[in-house]
């Protein structure tokens, strides 16, 4: 090892504390990048692998009743590589622990249990035996959520007939990663079940012997999906088909895709801020550190070393810190990424995990670190190289404060000399101070935007479940019902308000923009379920016309006053043109509202409701549930408290979960920045501080000069950080919003207050650490140490 390299290692050991602090900050910046992109890549790969291994269909074609003889015709469609038909239907499942039966879906499997498409993964127990029609396999997540297991009995109503079945196994399916109770947006494992059973048994129950009610298709890679869909619809139309759809519209897949794209947006949108802040800090600290080496640089030049050689020597020091930090970041990122992926694998219910890493995230993380550190180092070295070696070797001339001028007489009365030192240093080295202020402000901005996001999640929950929906219970009818059913609900003792709604699936079209969703018909002046404007006041439902959620209006690129085409997917499938009359605020889903009467008129079905919102007296809860249970027209009942919990779970375990990790990292980075700022200031002022001690200043008085500077810089950073954070939080909120829910960026004074407190706490703690070191410092050596 050359003497220079030995020197390098010893220098690194000397600055190890600070090097570690810098390394940590950059490591965290890189870690975020590596962790998030690794997470997204792994989940995408795992999903793709899962779909492929279990042969998830490309196209789903529901039909009322088609004879099996149509199958060859379907197989012959150009582009189709495989067809699988099955019998499916709705079931009502009795769960002993619940007051109301839950909805579910029964799906047929061929006798061996291994279909050509949409295979299932047995997680416990065994496949049903074709010879025993009462044997079923239950969806794993549903079983778990309801405390059911292989060996238990299950009572279900299929096609009006209640029977007892025997659960022989539980399974996962790529088709049902997510399940949602009918009419709800947010998935809930407990309230939608899937039962697999032998085809013959199910066909008998549904009167489907020799027929099927759903066809599944795999298509060739080069096939055009649109034309295949068209062809399938043509073939199945006579049998009550016509609604074939692709995997991208399949409910569970759509939800998983949205969640993953939510994660992807957070992964690409949020970590760069962390990395940028870390890189900025690295630049500042490295440039100051090299500045402190000026005498040595002069000395080496005096020995005859070339600028290039001296430069490389110091660059190695800079690079060791930057690369060391970046590599640590990659390693921590892999570790945390793995841990998070395990959590998400459970959340997405993947039966296995394909762990992949994204090499570009390593490259970008490492190169950004190296670049910002090198720029910081080179910038300062260039200045030092311009000096004659002799000048560089001398202790630097006192910094020139002459431009500071005199402090006014009035001011002078109130300022003692130490305060003047603080004031002049802050005002007369604006570049340096600005760097420190910006660094701390950037740290605060990170923390602030994360705190703002937390508040945004709260707001989304609150707006959805206390402002928009003020009901206690939602009821869904098996088929649209008339006034008398609503009256029947009103007559149940304890039911205070009943508000009917009518919901239909529809495609909304504005020119080339379209959205497949639903239109909800509301009463004229709804109280329980409302469309609200930006002031949270109720939007009255118009005689005619449609109210769109802001997200939906943006998606369709439409403004109030313009006409929208609504293609209803129920009843006689009418297409109506309606004017957009108002824009509603919604943070969950993208609803469209119409007056119930207007919607029914368009459907040609006056006076019908598909569901109702109820406000109830909690004291009568049990009685009300019992009454609802006995009403044959009711297909499903949802409690708002359950829906809220499901939504909370979604936000805390889905794409939103990363916010906790990010918040923690933001806090650590903020602390690292403040601590570095304090350390750097201490190193720069060691000589002055020692002189003050020699003159006879007490420790506290001496520390004031240093900590006063830190205090001023911190206080200046607060408003700047507040401002940067405010804007940063818009971008971060965008990153956390998914297609299902939006996270608003709220301006809340308390968020700014909390983030300021974080910075102040970091400053106090750093100040304490630095002061402790100051107290320990030996004044005589401090006086002699080179700057």
């Amino acid at each position: 090892m050359s003497p220079l390299d030995k020197k390098l290692w010893r220098d690194l050991r000397r600055v190890k504390g600070q090097a570690a602090a810098i390394g940590l900050v950059i490591a965290l910046g890189v870690m975020m990048q590596v962790m998030m992109s690794g997470l997204v890549h792994s989940l995408q790969e795992t999903r793709a692998e899962y779909y492929e291994r279990y042969r998830l269909a490309d196209i789903f074609a529901p039909v009322l009743r088609a004879p099996n003889s149509v199958t060859p015709q379907l197989a012959a469609i150009e582009g189709v590589s495989r067809v699988e038909t099955r019998v499916t239907g709705m079931v009502l499942i009795d769960i002993p622990s619940r007051d109301l039966p839950v909805m579910g879906r029964a799906i047929s499997l061929p006798p061996g249990g291994d279909p050509g498409l949409n295979a299932i993964y047995m997680s416990t127990g065994r496949m049903f035996d074709a010879a025993h029609p009462e044997e079923i396999v239950l969806l794993d997540s549903f079983a778990e959520a309801n405390g059911l297991k292989a060996g238990d009995n299950l009572v279900a109503t299929i096609n009006g007939a209640q029977r007892q079945y025997r659960i022989v196994g539980t399974a996962r399916s790529p088709e049902y990663l997510y399940t949602t109770a009918p009419g709800e947006l947010v998935p809930d494992d407990a309230r939608f079940g899937v039962i697999w059973m032998n085809r013959d048994a199910l066909a008998a129950a549904y009167d489907m012997v020799g027929a099927f009610s759903e066809a599944l298709f795999a298509i060739n890679r080069d096939a055009t999906q649109a034309s295949v869909l068209q062809e399938i619809d043509r073939v199945l139309k006579p049998y009550g088909g016509g609604g074939a759809y692709g995997l991208e519209d399949q409910y569970s897949n759509r939800f998983v895709s949205e969640e993953m794209s939510g994660l992807e947006v957070s992964a690409s949108g949020v970590p760069p801020f962390f990395l940028a802040v870390a890189a900025f800090l690295l630049y500042i600290v490295i440039s100051r550190m090299v500045q402190a080496e000026r005498e040595e640089i002069g000395l080496m030049k005096a020995f005859g070393y070339r600028n290039r050689e001296v430069g490389w020597h110091y660059m190695k020091m800079v690079l060791v810190i930057a690369i060391g930090g970046a590599i640590a970041g990659c390693l921590i990122g892999i570790g945390t990424g793995r841990a998070m992926i395990n959590l998400y694998t459970m959340y997405f219910k993947f039966p296995f995990l394909v762990f992949v890493l994204d090499p570009t995230s390593f490259v970008s993380g490492v190169s950004v670190s190296i670049l910002s550190a090198s720029i910081g180092g080179l910038f300062v070295m260039r200045r030092i190289f311009r000096m004659a070696p002799a000048d560089a070797m001398r202790p630097p001339a006192p910094a020139d404060y002459s431009a500071a001028g005199q402090i006014g007489a009035w001011f002078a009365k109130y300022l003692d000399q130490p305060s003047r030192m603080v004031l002049r240093r802050v005002t007369r080295q604006p570049g340096r101070m600005m760097g420190a202020v910006l660094g701390i402000a950037a740290g605060m901005a990170l923390t602030l935007s994360m705190i703002t996001i937390y508040a945004g999640f709260e707001r989304t929950l609150d707006l959805t479940f206390t402002v928009v929906d003020r009901s206690d219970v939602t009821v869904g009818f098996a088929r649209p019902v008339g006034e008398d059913a609503i009256f029947a609900l009103r007559r149940i003792p304890g039911v205070e308000v009943v508000e009917p709604t009518r919901a239909v699936g529809a495609v909304l079209r504005n020119g080339r923009f379209s959205h497949q969703g639903a239109v909800t018909g509301l009463t004229v002046a709804p109280e329980l379920i409302r469309a609200i404007d930006s002031d949270y006041s109720t939007i009255e439902m118009p005689e005619s016309g449609i109210v769109l959620a802001k997200e939906l209006a943006d998606l369709l690129d439409i403004k109030p006053g313009e006409m929208l085409a609504v293609e209803v997917m129920g009843g006689r499938q009418p297409v109506v043109d309606v004017p957009v009359v108002a824009i509603a605020q919604s943070l969950l889903g993208a609803p469209a509202y119409m007056g119930m009467e207007a919607l029914n008129r368009a459907l040609g079905e006056p006076g019908l409701a598909s569901g109702a919102y109820l406000k109830i007296d909690k004291a009568f809860e049990q009685e009300i549930f019992a009454a609802l249970r006995d009403m044959p027209m009711i297909a499903g009942v949802s409690l708002k408290s359950e829906m809220r919990t499901a939504f909370e779970t979604l936000m805390n375990q889905g794409a939103g979960a990363t916010r906790y990790v990010m918040g923690l990292v933001a806090f650590i980075i903020t602390f690292g920045i403040v601590y570095n700022a304090a350390r750097v200031a201490q190193a720069e002022r060691a000589r002055d501080l020692a002189s003050l001690r020699v003159i006879g200043f007490h420790r506290g008085e001496t520390a004031f000069v240093l900590l006063g500077e830190l205090a001023v810089v911190t206080l200046l950073a607060l408003p700047v950080g507040s401002m940067i954070g405010h804007y940063m939080s818009f971008a971060v909120a965008e990153g956390f919003s998914t297609e299902l829910y939006q996270i608003p960026s709220l301006f809340l004074p308390e968020s700014h207050g909390y983030s300021a407190l974080v910075v102040i706490a970091a400053a106090l703690f750093s100040g304490w650490l630095v002061k402790r070191d100051l107290d320990r410092a030996d004044i005589t050596t401090a006086l002699k140490t080179r700057e």
Binding site: A399, D400, P418, S691, G696, R699, D778, T780
Partner: protein, 243 residues
């Protein structure tokens, strides 16, 4: 008490007995002072001469309350420095001692006058900052910042800062080390004036043997101990010094 065990001589500024300073331990230990005994009378200019590493700066640091001996005692008049805790040493420096260093150690962010005021603000019986600067011939330049002053001027500000508190003792560690001979002589002149007018005891640590001629007493250091103490019957004026 140690104080009573040492015979008191009201004319002495410092008494040291068996002062030893060891840096490090075991085989790597460095003996900076090896049992130094000495006395320094009040009001004298004392020059400590000796090669680098002979222990003169270490002695100055101990007497100045900046460092503690490994063994031995040191008294300033009747106060035992070696018994003082950190806070008492700070007060000792604040109230009785002035320092002048080779590299001035001025606060770059304060003007000449403010650098002096830095001390007068906390001293018990200070002189006016302006007067202290006039004493070193810098009355006109009191509003200048260190960066606007030459090396000699900066050192004179440092002296003004040191004497403004009217200390009993002034410690000067290589006060002319960074200066050319003309400027160096001017700085020594200021020290001499301070001694003449205020009766301040002055200890000067230097390599420059010629400086010895302006002292009342010269202490020669070698290998951590005192090799010789000599007294000058007549002191030369700083202007007469040659180096």
């Amino acid at each position: 008490m140690k104080i009573s065990s040492v015979p008191r001589n009201p004319n002495l500024a410092f008494r040291a007995k068996g002062l030893t300073k060891v840096y490090g331990e075991g085989r790597t230990a460095v003996h900076a002072l090896r049992g130094v005994d000495m006395e320094i009378p009040k009001g004298e200019i004392v020059v400590l001469l000796g090669p680098s590493g002979s222990g003169k700066s270490t002695l100055l640091n101990i007497l100045g309350g900046l460092d503690r001996p490994t063994e031995g005692t040191a008294h300033f008049t009747d106060q035992c420095l070696t018994d003082m805790d950190d806070s008492a040493l700070t007060l000792y420096r604040r109230n009785h001692v002035g320092f002048v260093f080779q590299f001035y150690n001025l606060m770059p962010s304060l003007t000449a006058e403010e650098n002096v005021e830095l001390v007068t603000e906390i001293a018990r019986n200070p002189m006016d900052a302006g007067k202290a600067l006039s004493l070193v011939g810098l009355g006109e330049r009191r509003h200048h910042f260190p960066a606007q002053l030459s090396g000699g001027e900066q050192q004179r500000v440092a002296i003004a800062r040191a004497v403004a508190k009217q200390p009993e003792v002034l410690f000067c560690d290589e006060p002319t080390g960074a200066l050319d001979s003309t400027t160096g002589r001017a700085v020594l002149r200021v020290l001499r004036d301070v001694n003449d007018r205020l009766g301040t005891t002055i200890l000067i640590v230097t390599h420059a043997a010629a400086t010895a001629a302006m002292a009342d007493r010269v202490i020669h250091f070698a290998d951590g101990g005192i090799r010789e103490i000599s007294t000058n019957k007549t002191r030369l004026d700083p202007e007469e010094l040659v180096w």
